[in-house]
């Protein structure tokens, strides 16, 4: 290729407006392959690796370590050796300010709300600009999470299809009153939301409790589901760590939540005070505590989850199961004999879609491309 490809500050989640460059993994002149680790970026909420957008040579580094830049700002330039130095310099000079200005003006997509079964469900839709048809993907977060948990995944997966991230009842921006907190109750709300938005059939990916809901959706509403992906999903028979669930329910302050949040990540340094603050702030909202207790009791009931596992072989849709080898919340289940494609991510914990975002995105994209 002879194109000049910009490396820009990514936008991870609705709230991210700027990112701090904390490390370059490559120096000027290094060859990079598409998807290879290129730099470390930190927002106020989380740190992650930025992957190379294209293969080529890192020809220019524009931003230096410890610099804080707006989302979209130019960090560096990838090109092959056919691009001349003067072309690159001209490109950098032109794009540096243009990108920052562009990013400042760009309207970030905002979540929307729909009413189903008398409850408000919040969702965020991201779709490619020239998107036409195709099977959309629905993302379902886990217990105590919200649609922002997909901050490293949704935009990436939305390059190929429309992607809808839902807030479950009792979570995020959805109604806090949960009419039926059981697996079937929550699955019913998800199914109703998919119908109300006119999406079916969909691909559905769920994390943790959301994984169990994705499987249950395929089981109870086969007409709605094309393919299922679970990330550290419940519903395969292994128990959910009650230290996590009960610790999360009991924590009212940041310092009580810290050890609980540490069960989620292998790399404990990913936990920031902003992340913990957001969790505490959500827990304080009217109705959330009651909702979480009810869901923990009903939907995370070990008997209900084992009953789901026993019926997995009746699911018609293909299943992709992803697990973090270091997950401390849902241990690796016995998957021999289960009807699914399984991948184990060696360095990830329970938040595998955050800790190993690039790999998870690639595996889901490849799986869906095959099943569409």
């Amino acid at each position: 290729m002879s194109a000049i490809v910009p490396v820009r500050v990514p936008k991870w989640g609705l709230a991210m407006t700027e990112g701090k460059l904390t490390a370059w993994h490559k120096t000027v002149g290094d060859k990079v392959a598409k998807g290879e680790d290129l730099a470390d970026i930190e927002s106020s909420k989380i740190a992650n690796v930025l992957e190379a957008p294209e293969s080529g040579v890192l020809r220019r580094i524009v931003a230096h370590v410890d610099e804080t830049l707006p989302v979209g700002a130019l960090l560096g330039v990838i090109a092959d050796m056919s691009a001349s130095d003067s072309d690159l310099d001209a490109y950098v000079a032109e794009m540096k300010d243009k990108f920052a200005a562009e990013a400042a003006e760009a309207e970030a997509p905002l979540p929307d709300k729909i009413n189903v079964h008398g409850q408000t469900i919040q969702y965020l839709k991201l779709a490619p600009a020239d998107f036409e048809g195709g099977v959309p993907l629905v993302l379902i977060h886990g217990f105590g999470g919200d649609l922002n948990n997909w901050l490293f995944n949704q935009a990436e997966l939305a390059k190929e299809r429309a992607v809808y991230a839902f807030d479950l009842p009792g979570h995020g921006g959805s109604s806090k009153a949960v009419a039926d907190p059981s697996l079937d109750g929550l699955t019913g709300v998800v199914a109703a939301a998919i119908r109300a938005l006119g999406l079916s059939p969909v691909n559905v990916a769920g994390h943790s409790l959301g994984g169990a809901l994705a499987l249950n959706l395929a089981l109870k509403y086969p007409e709605l589901v094309n393919a299922v992906a679970t990330i550290c999903g419940a519903g395969y028979g292994s128990a959910v760590n009650r230290d996590y669930v009960n610790g999360y329910l009991a924590a009212a302050r940041r310092k009580d939540l810290q050890p609980v949040a540490e069960l989620l990540f292998t790399d404990k340094s990913l936990i920031t005070r902003d992340m913990l603050d957001d969790m505490i702030k959500m827990k304080r909202l009217d109705g959330v505590e009651e909702a979480l207790h009810a869901i923990a009791k009903a939907a995370l009931d070990p008997v209900a989850l084992v009953a789901l596992r026993d019926r997995l072989d009746t699911i018609k849709a293909p299943i992709l199961g992803l697990w973090g080898a270091k997950d401390e919340v849902i241990l690796l289940p016995e998957i021999i004999g289960l009807p699914l494609t399984a991948h184990i991510l060696p360095d990830a914990g329970h938040m595998a879609h955050m800790e190993a975002a690039g790999e998870v995105n690639k595996l889901i994209e490849a799986f869906l491309a095959e099943k569409d």
Partner: protein
């Protein structure tokens, strides 16, 4: 999440709690916002625009524009509270407490105790505090130490719009009298404030900056100054923990003592005169429970023991400033037994 001002956060809380519970009423001078002047109702939304719109939605039976008599406002509110309503009474400036203190400290604060727990007094007194408003000695005091002194009163000093909403919601739902102190210079500050209702428990300090070298305890507007100092000193590798207790009664003693045990150095910032102040109170607490952990004398940054001056340069000098807080931090850091 939407950015809202401190003023909007309080206004939104009043709307939400009045919709949620028909027993919640608002009363005070001009809370209907200019009613009675030109005949126009809700012309400007109360003395500081905080009660704007309430009269239109809830009517004059729940948004009671009172005569200029604090003793009647507080007496009526305390009586309404023990009889089943949940009044939010406004004391326009805390400086006026003198004419209604019997109703507050000798009546409302003691009902639950003197009736053996059979009476509840779910009363909130919203009041404005703070110097820097160029309003002279009779409209510029903080005075929260006086209310903190009284058993039976809860005292809340929010420092930002997020806390203001959560703490006011908690205050309105609380069954005891609460003095809710709004610093006049915070009304236009903004923070991310959820649209949904939420509560923040009393007696839980917020650690607004993490640090291990020195701790600053600061309330209300002073918490912003303390954060500013912490951010500045971080660049010099001085690691400052900032604690905003949010309520002085109850006081989160554990978080303060833990900070002294971790850092060994304490600076207390209190926008009020020093004698019998919260600064002295916390210093006494730390000396009693964490004396062995102290590596330097406790520094107190307070106002001088004088009325608030009207001359602007003097008023500015009267208020604890970031520069004075920074100097206090440097002093405790430099202390060599």
């Amino acid at each position: 999440m939407a950015k809202k001002t401190f003023r909007q956060a309080i206004n939104e809380t009043l709307f939400q709690e009045m919709r949620r519970d028909p027993r919640v009423i608002v009363m005070g001078e001009d809370v209907a916002g200019g009613q009675g002047g030109s005949g126009q109702i809700d012309a400007y939304g109360g003395p500081l625009g905080v009660t704007k719109g309430l009269i239109g939605e809830f009517g004059a039976s729940r948004v009671i524009d009172t005569p200029i008599t604090e003793s009647a406002i507080m007496g009526a509110a305390a009586g309404a509270a023990v009889n089943g309503l949940r009044p939010v009474a406004e004391l326009m400036f805390v400086d006026f407490f003198g004419v209604c203190f019997d109703q507050i400290y000798n009546q409302a604060a003691k009902f639950r105790y003197m009736f053996g727990g059979k009476a509840k007094t779910p009363l909130v007194i919203r009041t404005t505090i703070g110097a820097g408003f160029r309003a002279a000695a009779q409209h510029s005091q903080t005075l929260y130490p006086i209310f903190t002194h009284v058993p039976g009163l809860k005292v809340v000093i929010p420092s930002n719009a997020y806390d203001a909403k959560g703490l006011l919601t908690q205050a309105i739902r609380d069954d005891d009298p609460v003095i809710f102190c709004e610093h006049k210079l915070l009304y236009d500050t903004t923070a991310d404030v959820p649209d949904d209702a939420y509560t923040i428990p009393f007696g839980e300090a917020e650690i607004t900056r993490d640090g291990d070298d020195v701790a600053i305890v600061a309330f209300g507007r002073m918490a912003h100054f303390a954060n500013e100092v912490a951010d500045k000193l971080t660049k010099e590798k001085i690691s400052v923990r900032v604690i905003d207790p949010r309520t002085t009664s109850p006081l989160d003693e554990d978080t303060i003592i833990e900070a002294v045990e971790d850092t060994g150095r304490l600076v207390i910032v209190d926008e009020s005169p020093p004698r019998c102040s919260i600064a002295r109170d916390i210093a006494g607490l730390v000396v009693e429970h964490a004396f062995g952990a102290l590596k330097a004398p406790i520094a107190q940054v307070t106002c001088p023991h004088t009325p608030v001056p009207f001359a602007p340069p003097l008023e500015d000098l009267y208020i604890p400033s970031p520069a004075k807080i920074e100097a206090a931090v440097r002093k405790v850091m430099a202390y060599k037994g």
